[in-house]
Subunit: 362 residues, 2 copies
């Protein structure tokens, strides 16, 4: 088992990574606030891991809420089902919520914990690759609005993140690939040597080779933990974690939540960010080709859905959270393995990226 | 104009109290974060003060959301109307929300600000006595759930609180009285000399004599600001601000939100807290009589609705936020003008209080 720490002063917390962690009740007990625990999971994960997770918390006054599965349920209405249960079961301010599932469950459970009685504790037990390497770490929680993804939420850090890598064995291939998109992201924003490692080891990772998986998760979490420690509330550098996300959110909103997986939209978005960075003269056409090749090997999309027009992209991107007082800010690369946030790009280059991406996918 | 400060380190903010402040745009401008402002108000307040408030923010890119009026609309569904508007009008992370209205508008606007894009700035412009002396100060925000009041919310401090005491001139008498209940509360929890001042000056306050109003609001806000500075997130002493509220919330939940005004329920609840404190031997029967007399002069209820049974009270109080891991904690008085939080009271005394209160009101 590996242990990392997200350093945030009195809100610091550990990330445990290893096989079989779901069978270690002693690991989680110190991170429960009081005597009450509510596990929040979904209909897909419950039959696989709920029983073992219940056994982990057997010593506590335990309740369970099972939500429907899917990004399309990540909204205020579904969130209210968690509040209903908490109040029906009379959970106090000292309760601890446990998120058992992927990014949607983690984001919603974390947001429920942020808001219930103005804030209770929670623990992340992510069961998808995407949530293990990204959304379970860093305290971003929230739900979607029909007009924009993650528009309603809070910063609320978990007490601990428990990553049992065995849970990936039941994950559909498409979701493994979606998680790999975020893994590749870490190679692009801060760590070109990790990008090169991925170019060499991508087949092992896709095949869920345990050593490759452990290394990829640990490296990804370490990168995320460092960035979050530097900038918890995304006043600055943390925004680089959104490489590909402004384009990606536009795709997700256009398609309707749940049609494209988040990681798939981010994959296409990262290619668009790379394309724009190349048009700006910051990275080479060869860099872009390497990025596309790695994503294609991972069976990920490298272009947006063909029906998305330039106008549609422009409209959807202008409501993204990265828009500050009117100016569109994007995460771009000024060399392979180094991302930064900027409003300083040629609008004509962005148009060219949007136009050519549409053509590429048609 | 008076200026107080809520001391909370980098989250410190001013409270301005005076007549005609709605006509002073220079007062608010320094507290707006960016170029966008959204005023949130309700159907009752809008015809009275919206135009002047719009003029205050004339220099900004201004939007308005008008919500229905009433505690029964303080829920996630109405909150979503604010998010709809913010997204339709493309408000960015740098927007500033302005709460123009009473406690419901302040709590909901503050919670919308806490959650929109994971947190934006807001300004409180309270227009009722109750919100001026209580809910606009201290950063408690949130909405109700059918099973409990203020069960979903956040701590989110405003950038400034602007109290224009002229707005009380349009307030219905019943709501003035409801506000006086919270004013009396400050006399009971920390300041017996203020309680005595109220005994002498209650008629002036009811008649909205400007000097009496100014003194009562300033003294109340000063008391609240001090308690909040000591304990922002209610880990300890801040709970004394909830004197009468556990009983009061049970009344409000039982009656359905909006039937009893919050201040009315708190008035009855404070009498119950006084009754229980007396049964514990901590305050005298004469103290209880003085409290009842002051509330009655203010035309406030001094007992719960007669149909509320002991069992109903017990059930509703057990979901109140002051319940920590099973034990019922109440704010009681151990002398007139001094409140504290305790679980150490005789259960039989609580039963007697609940029983006699029911009889008293029948």
């Amino acid at each position: 088992m590996k242990q990392l720490t997200v350093e945030l002063g009195e809100r610091s917390y550990p990330i445990f990574i290893g096989q079989g962690l779901l069978d270690q009740p002693d690991l989680v007990a110190p991170y429960v606030a009081g005597s009450q625990v509510m596990i929040v999971t979904n209909e897909t994960v419950a039959p696989l891991y709920l029983e073992r997770t219940q056994a982990m918390f057997a010593g506590f006054d335990l309740s369970v809420t099972v939500l429907p599965d899917g990004e399309q349920y990540k909204n205020l209405e579904t969130l209210n089902l968690v509040f209903d249960q908490l109040l029906e079961k009379r959970h106090s301010r000292k309760t601890t919520l446990v998120a058992l599932g992927g990014g949607v469950i983690g984001d919603m459970t974390g947001f429920a914990a942020a808001c219930y009685q103005r804030g209770v504790e929670f623990i992340q037990i992510p069961t998808t690759l995407l949530s293990q390497v990204d959304s379970s770490v860093g305290g971003k929680t929230g739900v979607n609005h029909p007009l924009g993804k993650n528009m309603i939420g809070a910063f609320h850090q978990p007490n601990a993140v428990i990553i049992d890598t065995d849970t990936l064995n039941t994950l559909p291939e498409r979701e493994v690939a979606a998680g790999i998109a975020e893994v590749i992201k870490y190679g692009l924003i801060r760590d070109v040597s990790f990008f090169e490692w991925l170019e060499t080891n991508i087949e092992k990772l896709i095949a869920l080779n345990p050593e490759a998986v452990a290394y990829a998760i640990e490296t990804s979490c370490q990168c995320k933990a460092l960035v979050v420690s530097e900038d918890e509330r995304e006043g600055g550098v943390r925004a680089i974690l959104n490489l590909g996300h402004t384009f990606g959110h536009a795709i997700e909103t256009h398609m309707g939540y749940g049609e494209w997986l988040h990681g798939e939209a981010v994959a296409a978005g990262m290619v668009m960010a790379a394309d724009l960075s190349c048009r700006q003269g910051w990275i080479s056409a060869d860099d872009v080709s390497r990025i596309i090749a790695l994503l294609e090997k991972s069976t990920l999309p490298v272009a947006p859905p063909k029906e998305m027009s330039v106008e549609r992209f422009r409209a959807l991107m202008s409501v993204d959270k990265k828009v500050i007082d009117g100016g569109l800010r994007l995460v771009l690369m000024d060399k392979l393995g180094y991302a930064f946030v900027t409003e300083q790009f040629e609008s004509s280059n962005l148009d060219a990226t949007l136009t050519c991406s549409s053509e590429l996918s048609s």
